[in-house]
């Protein structure tokens, strides 16, 4: 009744092919942006920023990046943690070597470095597919973690092998370091996430994205109709790693402030981001947000309910939390293998017909 395309006339191609063709969707999108930019910053405190919003925003960037590779281009990757580490160490080296350059550019450059590394490790994808490619990217994960542990140049020869983000400001406001306010952290990540999401959305519905999807659906057919697999796969790896590198750079510099490669960017991180993509929905930008929200918010929520509200012992709560999250993942995959994005899609389909489905 309210949610419908009837009566929403388009008079130009531009209007016809916009991201949100239905007016209510469009209004929802702008409302979400207004809430995110103009309402949340007034209410956010350190706990909400550091436990909920900042990790959610950063993991959403990583999930969008991985979704491009796995969901759109169909190339399975288990190297996300390693690529995030590349972003983190790149931003660390840039921050300490060129302290006068604005931090924003360091983050973008770190993404660029990661894109380059991603392309290197993506080259084998021209010859190997499926599980074999997954194993090759797994090798990238272990190799990169080993490299950052082994070569002291990457961590500026610090005694402990830890990298610590120095204080950096933008327009006189701290973005990294301990003096950063919750609002600054949140807004900085939010701006980058918005840029990334817009870029990803527009890439995936243009030529590049269509090439990726052609390769994903059937690579031989795609090649026959004139899609160059080299450029399609390499661009997928480059764009995906670019976003993942940005996420890694933010995770280290804005969120954690100090990191150690094995602990922060281990294989667990690769699986976490992959779960986000699978639970959220492969091949969907909205799915990346939903998956990141699910896996970041649920443990924090459960912990606060079980320990904070019910007063259970922390170890029981922690174990129960693992069980509940695990069970929910299995249930989701059985009930809706296409993820939260598909649930959202079905809900919208039903809403269009509501209240007269016949």
């Amino acid at each position: 009744m309210f949610y419908r395309e009837a009566g929403d006339f388009k008079t130009s191609y531009r209007a016809d092919s916009q991201t949100f063709p239905i007016r209510l969707d469009r209004m929802g999108y702008f409302a979400a942006l207004i809430v995110a930019y103009a309402v949340v910053p007034f209410f956010i405190d350190d706990y909400w920023a550091n436990a909920v919003f900042v990790p959610f925003l950063i993991y959403a960037i990583a999930a969008i990046g991985l979704n491009i590779l796995v969901g759109y281009a169909g190339q399975v990757s288990l190297g996300t943690g390693g690529f995030m580490a590349v972003g983190a160490y790149a931003v660390y080296k840039l921050m300490t070597t060129f302290p006068e350059v604005p931090f924003f550019f360091h983050v973008i450059l770190a993404g660029g470095v990661t894109a380059f590394v991603g392309v290197l490790f993506g080259l084998p994808s021209l010859r190997i597919k499926g599980f074999y490619l997954a194993v090759a990217t797994l090798a990238a994960q272990f190799f990169l973690v080993w490299l950052f542990n082994k070569v002291p140049w990457f961590y500026n020869y610090s005694a402990s092998g830890q990298i610590t983000a120095p204080d950096r400001t933008m327009f006189g406001i701290y973005i990294t370091g301990a003096q950063t306010s919750a609002v600054a952290k949140y807004l900085f990540c939010l701006v980058i996430l918005t840029l990334v999401a817009l870029m990803a959305r527009n890439l995936t519905r243009g030529t590049v994205g269509r090439k990726w999807m052609a390769i994903r659906d059937m690579d031989i057919a795609a090649e026959i109709i004139g899609v160059n697999p080299l450029s399609a796969k390499v661009t997928a790896f480059a764009v995906s790693s670019f976003f993942i590198g940005i996420a890694g750079a933010l995770l280290f510099s804005v969120y954690l402030g100090a990191a150690e490669v094995g602990e922060s960017f281990g294989i667990n991180k690769s699986f976490l981001v992959l779960f986000m993509v699978i639970i959220g929905g492969l091949g969907s930008i909205f799915g990346s947000f939903a998956g990141a929200a699910f896996l970041v918010l649920l443990p924090v929520f459960l912990k606060n309910v079980l320990v904070g509200a019910l007063g259970w012992p922390t170890d029981v709560a922690a174990h129960l939390e693992l069980m509940i999250v695990g069970a929910l993942i299995v249930i989701f995959l059985i009930v809706e293998p296409h993820g939260l994005a598909q649930l959202w899609r079905i809900a919208k389909e039903k809403l269009r017909l509501w209240p007269f489905p016949h």
Binding site: D45, D46, Y47, A49, N50, A51, P55, N149, A159, S160, G161, Q162, T164, P166, D167, G177, A178, Q179, Y255, L256, G257, A258, A259, E260, G262, E263, S264, V300, K303, V307, P313, T314, D315, A317, A318, H319, L322
Partner: protein, 428 residues
């Protein structure tokens, strides 16, 4: 209308802030799950039980009850940050995260937010320099002290000369395990022994290749910087290659009952460093039994009484409570703020007489902290495991670390931190 809304908001703020101010809050950032749980549980129990004892027996510290909210970190830095952010609003007086990784993250945060970070025997070694690390304390001993004490003990064992000997370091490949390397390299130069480094990737269930290398190289001594499941595996592997246990020394985090247990009788003679006494013969255990265990108020399963890590958790709690007590005496009131507690830590004067009063005679070394000295005496002793009686016993007296080697290293590392974060050293 506007005014009444503001009044309401203010009232709500006061209402939420008030209960937090009633108690002295010392959060317990513990881990009872994950691959480090075997070591995290006894420590967390000891920490919580000591404060429970103070609350039950003395009515808290200086008449103020102590609240010890527990937060599970699973030794994970991201969860550690969440725990810190979640508890810092309750005017937390001191943090003791029992993780070097989390410590590194918290050092800049506590410095900005003004909370004490107390890291006995772990964390960033150069925090011993109080003129740079205003809010961080790591007395009584740090990793570099541990490395130096181990080498001094080995010197003593081999008749004062280590030249030409081979010492292998098996370490947790993380910030924690890498800490002693710098010191050991300096000591290798000074004493002429050959140091070989064998990193074990966390969590450390897989160590076959490292121990094969030890079997091939035949080092005279093996030192270990391990934690969690890595300790048990390493001791088992050492048994498997028949490495002489008395030449195998773990740092204080690699010497608990849980670590030697799985290797059974074969672990006989394994040594570890410790900066406090162990066992349940101290008079305080009578009180613990009366006020905490018998009424069923013990933390966790209550089965860790007197073991090494329980004692260490208790040690940390004892130091924090003594610092709070000192702060109360200095401030002249009992509801102390984090700033006042920092003063208490900095002026802590822990004597043997005081330890005897606390029911812990000879449990630890004296501490006389100053503005510049946040590192304490830096001495430790060597314990040896007897698998027939299932007990640790001291095989050395207190050994003091080699300040000639350590002091320049600490000065260098803390100066680097000061330059990095723009801190002007104080205490002049």
């Amino acid at each position: 209308m506007k005014k009444s809304f503001a009044a309401l908001a203010a009232a709500a703020l006061v209402a939420t802030a008030a209960p937090a101010l009633a108690d002295l809050t010392v959060p317990n950032l513990s881990y009872r799950t994950g691959s480090y749980a075997a070591n995290g549980i006894p420590y967390a129990d000891g920490f919580a039980d000591y404060f429970t004892l103070l609350n039950e027996r003395d009515g808290g510290i200086g008449g103020e009850m102590v609240a010890v909210p527990e937060c599970e970190t699973a030794y994970n830095t991201e969860k550690g940050v969440e725990c810190y952010e979640g508890t810092k609003g309750q005017a937390a007086l001191a943090y003791n995260p029992l993780s070097t990784g989390i410590t590194y993250q918290l050092i800049p945060k506590v410095t900005a937010d003004h909370h004490v970070l107390y890291t006995p025997g772990y964390g960033r070694t150069s925090a011993a320099n109080g003129s740079v690390f205003e809010w961080v304390f790591n007395y009584p001993a740090n990793y570099w002290d541990g490395a130096s004490v181990a080498v001094k003990y080995l010197l003593d064992q081999s008749g004062g000369d280590l030249s030409g000997k081979k010492i292998a370091l098996v370490y947790h490949n993380s910030a924690y395990g890498k800490e002693p390397i710098r010191t050991l390299e300096e000591l290798a130069k000074k004493h002429g022994f050959e140091l070989s480094l064998l990193p074990v990737d966390p969590p450390g269930q897989e160590q076959k290749s490292q121990w094969l290398q030890i079997r091939r190289d035949k080092p005279d001594y093996v030192l270990m910087w391990g934690w969690g499941v890595m300790n048990q595996v390493a001791i088992q592997e050492a048994v498997n290659i028949r490495f002489p246990m008395e030449n195998f020394i773990g740092v204080w985090w690699s010497g608990s009952e849980n670590d030697v247990g799985p290797a059974g009788d074969k672990a006989m003679g394994y040594k570890s460093i410790s900066f406090h006494g162990v066992g349940d013969e101290f008079p305080i255990y009578a009180d613990l039994k009366q006020y905490v265990f018998d009424p069923g108020k013990a933390a966790g399963a209550g089965d860790n009484l007197g073991n090494v890590l329980y004692s260490r958790g208790m040690y940390a709690a004892m130091i924090i409570s003594e610092a709070i007590r000192t702060a109360q005496e200095m401030a002249g009131h009992s509801a102390v703020t984090p700033e006042e507690v920092r003063e208490g830590f900095e002026n802590l004067n822990l004597t043997q007489e005081r330890l005897t009063e606390l029911g812990l005679p000879g449990f630890a070394q004296e501490i006389h902290a100053t503005c510049a000295d946040h590192g304490g005496p830096g001495s430790a002793m060597i314990l040896q495991w007897d698998s027939s009686t299932k007990k640790w016993s001291a095989v050395s007296d207190w050994i003091t670390s080699d300040a000639d080697v350590l002091d320049p290293l600490i000065a260098e590392d803390s100066a680097a931190f000061a330059a990095e974060s723009g801190i002007t050293p104080r205490c002049n």
